[in-house]
């Protein structure tokens, strides 16, 4: 085999090794990065669209947040119809998950009272008492 072809093949081999390393590195990068990016993009904010005292407030959910009337809730709801610990929001890879914590007056997602944990998408409305929040 002529030396020139051999030299060329050698460099092609090294190039392929690097292509491989690059591909694997990229896969690892996206694998680690995806969840972070999606969390930020999708429904991790709640906007108070209708409320007596909290209208226009914005709530960011990055991990687990408990909403309720109690001072010990992560986010205090100023609404007489809300329970002390009313609902819990959990940020997941594909959006928010809403758990009602056995509240007296219930939680309504898009106008329907929920009986089981409900996934939230962008544009969904969450109603607690007289307070309405929208997922952004």
């Amino acid at each position: 085999m002529p030396d020139i072809i051999l030299a060329l093949l050698r460099l092609i081999f090294l190039g392929l090794v690097y292509l491989f390393v690059w591909q694997v590195a990229r896969a690892i990068g996206t694998h680690l990065g995806i969840s972070v990016r999606q969390e930020r993009k999708k429904g991790s904010r709640l906007l108070f669209v209708k409320s007596e005292n909290q209208q226009g407030d914005e709530l960011k959910v990055s991990d687990v947040t408990v909403l309720g009337r109690s001072d010990e809730a992560d986010y205090v709801l100023d609404d007489p119809y809300a329970s002390d610990f009313h609902l819990r929001l959990v940020a997941q890879e594909n959006g928010l998950m809403l758990h009602d914590l056995g509240s007296t007056n219930g939680t309504y997602v898009n106008g329907r009272r929920i009986s089981a944990p409900a996934p939230l998408r962008r544009g969904d409305t969450v109603q607690v008492g007289k307070t309405v929040m929208e997922v952004r």
């Binding site: 085999m1 051999l6 030299a7 093949l9 050698r10 460099l11 081999f13 090294l14 392929l16 090794v17 690097y18 491989f20 390393v21 591909q23 694997v24 590195a25 896969a27 690892i28 996206t30 694998h31 680690l32």
Partner: protein, 431 residues
């Protein structure tokens, strides 16, 4: 990375291995012969089989681990083939056996998971110590299991039943058992160890009482050093324990204490033992002792220097001039034939492997699995550092093999079991 992409990457890595073997053939005036096909076939059968087993026994395991391993085995394999065709044939058999044992490990863990390892930690420790002591069996008795002394170290066990002879290094499996025990022990005592501290400025100093396990691990590794003259395993066990202790407690004091103990232990060993003294001389003044102690290191450095940027090309260098090129010095041999570019790619692959391993640990919630994943990754990382550092003259040469790349069946088996354990942990912790 999806499953399909993972499978494609495994095939690509196998093709790279076959391509490298073909390049060696071309350099020697040959062509695409049976060796090329056989290499591809064995890679596909062993790692494809392992991949399929992971889909069955641990379907939620991370897809990032196996492709890196296949690439590393491939980059080592072509160099083994280039150095010694007969050994390459044996290594192919070992690949099949190692992935078989990896599959067996996955299967054994399907029922009870890694928590079974935590439960039987004392049994595992005893078995590991037994394995470590096996090479100290007499080498001239009638029993088919004999110890063997090679190059001044007692590491080998020969299983001789007349018609066939199998040699293996039980320490390669024993070190996994020891890491499992460490992880289980620290998962139990994590809280006590973490809270008992005295503050000394910015450094947290562990209570003297809490240093007892550290001292015992130190003593244990010194016993290995004295009795088996295995510098590498002794350092590996101790460094693995100190790193795991740090991971479990977050106390930098342990790292400082561990570093001091390593240096005192090494200095004392250098004064007391001839074989350690020779390693030190070879490390510090290799060129003055070119004729004897320093010969291997100097040849390795020459090989790396000759390799320059892009290497001489597979089959076109003279890595055969380095003693033990296919085991201890495979990094220098690959460095000669693939050059700086090739060695950087290898270091990058090890870096990615360690990143994936630590990623599994970070994502784990259960303390034992967290520590086990960290510990397994640590011993892999320490091994790579010790041998690559030894070849590059950053640390003294310790006679450890380069994981996945060096010729050697027991090491390959041990490392495939390690990969199987990591995959199993990532499966159990997947959400």
């Amino acid at each position: 990375m999806s499953r399909r992409l993972e499978a494609a990457t495994i095939v690509a890595a196998s093709l790279l291995a076959a391509f490298a073997v073909a390049l060696v053939n071309f350099a020697w005036g040959g062509g695409l012969d049976v060796q090329v096909g056989l290499t591809f076939l064995v890679f596909i059968v062993s790692f494809g089989g392992f991949f399929a087993a992971v889909q069955t026994f641990a379907p939620r395991a991370t897809p990032l681990l196996i492709p890196i391993v296949v690439a590393l085995v491939g980059l080592g394999f072509f160099e083994i083939y280039r150095l010694d065709t007969e050994r390459a044939g044996l290594q192919r058999w070992w690949m099949l056996i190692a992935s078989g044992i990896g599959v067996l490990t996955l299967w054994l863990l399907t029922k009870r998971g890694t928590s079974a390892l935590r439960r039987y930690r004392n049994v595992i420790l005893l078995v590991s110590i037994g394995l470590l002591l096996l090479p100290n069996l007499p080498s001239d008795w009638a029993f088919p299991l004999k110890g063997l002394e090679v190059n001044g170290s007692r590491l080998w066990v020969v299983f001789d039943v007349g018609f066939t002879r199998i040699q293996f290094q039980p320490a390669e499996l024993a070190k996994l058992g020891i890491v499992i025990f460490f992880a289980a022990y620290l998962a139990d005592h994590q809280r006590a160890l973490r809270e008992a501290h005295r503050r000394f400025g910015p450094i947290r100093i562990p209570e003297p009482r809490q240093l007892i396990p550290l001292v015992m691990a130190w003593a244990g590794s010194l016993v290995i050093l004295v009795w088996q003259r295995d510098l590498g395993a002794s350092l590996l066990v101790f460094a693995g324990f100190v790193l795991l202790l740090y991971a479990a407690t977050g106390a930098t004091g342990y790292l400082v204490a561990g570093g001091v103990m390593t240096i005192t232990g090494a200095a004392a060993a250098a004064v007391m033992f001839d074989h350690v003294q020779r390693r030190m001389t070879a490390w510090l003044e290799p060129f003055q002792h070119y004729e004897d102690e320093g010969f291997q290191i100097v040849q390795g450095l020459f090989a790396l220097g000759t390799g320059s940027l892009a290497g001489s090309g597979p089959g076109l260098g003279r890595p055969d001039l380095i003693p033990n090129a296919s085991t201890d010095f495979i990094f220098a041999a690959v460095g000669e034939e693939l050059g700086f570019a090739g060695t950087v790619a290898i270091i990058a692959l090890y870096g990615l492997l360690i990143a994936v391993g630590l990623g599994i640990s970070f994502r784990s919630r259960e303390p034992f699995r967290k520590l086990l994943a960290a510990g397994l990754t640590f011993i892999l990382a320490v091994q790579v550092f010790l041998i690559v550092g030894g070849v590059l003259r950053i640390v003294p040469l310790t006679g450890i093999t380069l994981p996945f790349m060096s010729y050697g069946g027991s090491a390959l088996v041990g490392n495939m079991v390690l990969v199987a354990l990591l995959l199993r942990i990532s499966h159990e912790e997947a959400r």
